[in-house]
Symmetry: C2
Subunit: 108 residues, 2 copies
Amino acid sequence: MHCFWKPEGMPPRTLVPGVTAKIASGERMMFSLVTLAPDAVVPTHSHPHEQMGMLVSGTMEFTIEGETWRLSGSEMYFVPGGVPHAAKAGPGGAVALDAFSPPREEYR
Amino acid sequence: MHCFWKPEGMPPRTLVPGVTAKIASGERMMFSLVTLAPDAVVPTHSHPHEQMGMLVSGTMEFTIEGETWRLSGSEMYFVPGGVPHAAKAGPGGAVALDAFSPPREEYR
């Protein structure tokens, strides 16, 4: 069954302080539209799910296996399953779209 | 191996007239950052890969199994594998991020 989603109608879910997400699930993939408050931090973590993401607005530092990129524009990243990563929003905050495969059951 | 991508450095690939994409591949997923010229049309087609997408800028009509939504903002869509879908950019063009799982080998 296909779906369309309007973010305005989706309840935000708090991931960590200052970081909320709106979740849309397919079958093999899940989208998480993440809003980070200015300077908000997602501490280093890992999960078995593959993650790809794209910055939508603002700026963000994204660290994967100890390598940090300062993202701007529509820059993208790929985190293989099980690999430690972290994020920190810039001073103006950030919005990013994360995609997970398989979907993260804990976010449904 | 993790990756970061800057869209400015990625070669655009023409999908159909007026529609180009920049492709980034993971293992289970592929991102396609699609730019549609004003009123550009992606004709009805299907593929076995699951597709989820989000409008990044502009406006776009997206049709799945005959149901058409006029997308604006950061609206999202899910197209199960094998389901016919089509798109048409609005008069100002559009940018959308599509994610496929599994990756589309023909785009690598």
